[in-house]
């Protein structure tokens, strides 16, 4: 299945001569860095979804807001699409370039503008790395909560575009819960402020709407985030199980005991072995599943909670329970989990990471389903799971050099996502739709709902110039891919051309 932009399904893009666009932009924004030679464009041909590559028409690397404004105004006038990119670590192809579009790279906006410890906020340019925020806040005993596993490299602008998560979402929320204000430049080149340094702002909650909108409604040029006091202490328990279902039930038991852990992660046997081989985290390689449960807060409460969780885990049939003795061992326990993706990467020439979410109670059924698909396709699947919040990351192992195996892996991945939707979940918990899951959107949403999304898009970008083809599929695409909901045996929108 090829997910590259297909004008037949995704909408026509204007044919405009590259040299004309280059000349226009050079004249309108004399100081703007524009890359146009193939060798200069090459590094920008993909984001974290590296199986798909497209050379953009041009790459723009602005350094001032005026340059961004001018770029937007000129692209709008010329009818040239604009794909915005941050650090390019996204896993769903949200920053996949367009051959007929300009790639707007925000990486030069990389300054931390202000950290205010008393108001507990930080004001950031979009190219600031996620981890750098917590590092800047650390001297004040504060930190920024969302911690995607790419946090060393990913930028806050991209985090806002994808509504990035991490391993602490159940307790501390996603990006949308931790961003207070963004500055935006629209496709018309206007500046606007959404949200506020206060806890709310007048009017509609456009800040929530923009968070996770994948660069399709505007370009975020500045972000104000909330900082939290660092928990006094954090302790980690690791429990092993001889059965995946028992581990899944233990997760529910912990929540039922009234505890909301800071992090609650599960890994299956294949993931455990891969991680252990890679980082020597001390994981029990004979276990079918492990749970990592981090409890954070005030010391006295954390000690009480550790005792409660230990009792719950024993009751749930854990075959072994270890508590990290100190911060160093806690970091080691986490290192295995945080490196699970590259660890699996060492076992197989390629792997494909999925991002479905499910109600936790459906875990046994979904794991069984994944195992069945894995067998049917003859491809191994390692399961890494944000168990506390129901976000699964099955990693499908394959070898792209074997003809047809990428397609098989993608098809298997699609089946897993459709299973997630079937049990009441979602095709993406934190990685975003991008191009990667554009067809599965047709399974998750009905045509009318997709129409509503397109209406929202039209309110901000009626010409469809901002990151066209991402996030929301056209009805024509859904019709073609057959996963479309059919009501009363009638195809919706009979007026649409069927190709």
């Amino acid at each position: 299945m090829n997910i590259l932009y297909d004008e037949r399904l995704d909408g026509e893009l204007p044919d405009i001569d590259k040299s004309d666009v280059l000349a226009d932009l050079q004249q309108a924004a004399p100081g703007l860095t524009l890359l146009h030679r193939e060798e200069d464009l090459r590094p920008f041909e993909c984001d974290g979804l590296s199986a798909y590559r497209v050379l953009p028409m041009l790459v723009a690397l602005p350094e001032t807001l005026e340059q961004v404004e001018t770029l937007m105004k000129r692209c709008r006038a010329l009818g040239v699409p604009v794909v915005t990119r941050g650090a390019g670590t996204g896993l769903s192809g949200g920053a996949l370039p367009l051959e007929k579009g300009v790639l707007l790279v925000m990486s030069r906006f990389n300054r931390i503008l202000d950290v205010d410890p008393d108001a507990r906020i930080a004001r950031l340019q979009p190219g600031v790395r996620n981890l750098a925020i917590s590092e800047a806040a650390a001297p004040y005993g504060l930190y920024y909560a969302p911690d995607p596993s790419s946090q060393i490299a990913c930028s806050i602008g991209g985090n806002v575009a994808e509504n990035a998560g991490g391993v602490h979402c159940l307790k501390y929320g996603l990006t949308v819960h931790n961003v207070m204000k963004v500055e935006v430049i629209t496709i018309e080149g206007e500046r606007m402020t959404l949200g506020s340094e206060a806890l709310d702002a007048p009017g509609l909650d456009l800040l929530a709407l923009f968070t996770g909108s994948e660069g399709m409604l505007g370009v975020v040029t500045e972000i104000t985030v909330k900082l939290l006091p660092k928990p006094e202490t954090a302790k980690v328990l690791m429990a092993s199980f001889d059965d995946v279902e028992k581990a899944g039930r233990a997760v529910g038991d912990i929540i039922a005991a009234g505890i909301v852990p800071g992090g609650l992660e599960m890994m299956d046997k294949l993931a455990i072995r891969a991680a252990e081989d890679f980082v020597k985290a001390g994981y029990p390689v004979e276990a079918e599943a492990i749970l990592l449960c981090e409890l954070d807060g005030v010391e006295a409460d954390v000690d009480d909670d550790c005792a409660t969780v230990r009792a719950v885990l024993e009751q749930a049939g854990a075959t072994g329970i270890q508590q990290a003795r100190d911060d160093a061992e806690r970091a080691t326990f986490w290192a295995g989990r945080k490196n699970a993706f590259p660890a699996v990467g060492r076992m197989s020439p390629d792997y494909y990471c999925m991002d479905g979410t499910i109600p936790r109670r459906e875990l046994p059924r979904v794991l069984k389903g994944i195992a069945d698909f894995s067998e049917a396709y003859g491809l191994q699947v390692a399961n890494v799971f944000h168990a506390g919040d129901g976000n699964m990351h099955p990693l499908i192992l394959f070898d792209a050099n074997r003809p047809g195996e990428l397609e098989q892996a993608e098809e298997l991945g699609g089946k897993i996502l459709e299973l997630c939707v079937e049990v009441g979940g979602s095709i993406t918990g934190e990685h975003g739709v991008g191009r990667e899951k554009i067809n599965q959107m047709c399974a998750q949403f009905k045509p009318g709902e997709l129409d509503t999304f397109h209406a929202v898009k039209a309110a901000f970008d009626p010409q469809r110039l901002l990151n066209p083809g991402k996030n929301i599929p056209t009805l024509a695409r859904c019709a073609e891919f057959g996963a479309m909901h059919v009501h009363n045996n009638e195809l919706p929108h009979p007026e649409l051309p069927r190709f």
Binding site: P359, M441, E449, V456
Partner: protein, 367 residues
Amino acid sequence: MAQTPHQATDQDISDALGERVRRATAEGRPLRIVGGDTKAFYGRPVEGEALSTREHRGITYYDPVELIVSVRSGTPLAELEATLADNGQMLGCEPPHLGADASVGGMVATGLSGPRRPWAGSVRDFVLGTRVITHEGHEQRFGGEVMKNVAGYDLSRLMVGAQGTLGMITEVSLKVLPKPGASQSLRLEMPLPDAQAKLAEWGRQPLPITAAAWHAGALHLRLEGGPSSVAATRERLGGDSLDDDFWTALREQTLAFFSREDARPLWRLSLPHNTPSVALAGVEEADVLHDWAGTQRWLRSDLDADTIREACARAGGHATCLGTRQGPGQADPFMPLEPVVAKYHRNLKAQLDPKGIFNPGRLYAEL
């Protein structure tokens, strides 16, 4: 797995509501969406045919272990909270009812949160999914019954605080929280500047504070969490014990400060953390109640709207006029939007409600 609780009053009338909306759009007749009718004062008056959610009620899904509940919009808020309490859980945003009949839909549509908001999050932060009747009369579903979901635009959270101007909310899925193991409230006599300094200092520490309000010479605090930390913090901070009812009275605006006898309009000032007192001529200390550790301030004042709003805007916040409860204090209770932001509000309204049938004018005259 726990069974979703059912009441004899549960029923799904979404088809009938959809039909009413479809006809309203077809005939271009505006609708005034009503739930428990407890928060009509919060916004501009709406001219339109009343469309009530009250018969559309019941919890459609609740499994305490998942920390998620789905509930129809007409369900009384009190009924939902009672069900959660039976399972040792609660709504983290601590929503004000402002009347016995408050509905879940009204909570979501107004987006009003209670004293716990700065620490736990707002109504919007707890919304995971919604079902909404669109202008064409179709019920559509956004988000869902999972904690994390970034598929498509976040229309669920967009509906929170939109006051029914973009569509009619028929169902909402919410994240719920376990009730804290221990709770103690206390009262510390101290002048306002000291309280502000203390709150800034404590804000950088991992203390189990879940409510903080200063009024009439005293800082009122609520400590919640594990029994050990609550007891230790109570010991450390000292002060006098305070009845927990204080927070209910604050949330429900039944403290003397909110008295209807006071003829002056009530204003809500929303300000950044650590904002000093807003300088307003003639406003005395007793005219301001500082909630949310100072980020939500209630003001009784006859000053003109522009003066109050300009002072708040200078501090990075905004001001809303809630009137006198006898009637609106301002033709436009909400702070005017910046022109570019206002333009995109209009565009969005035109896209999602082209005939202008959903609560027209409720937020702003042009929406």
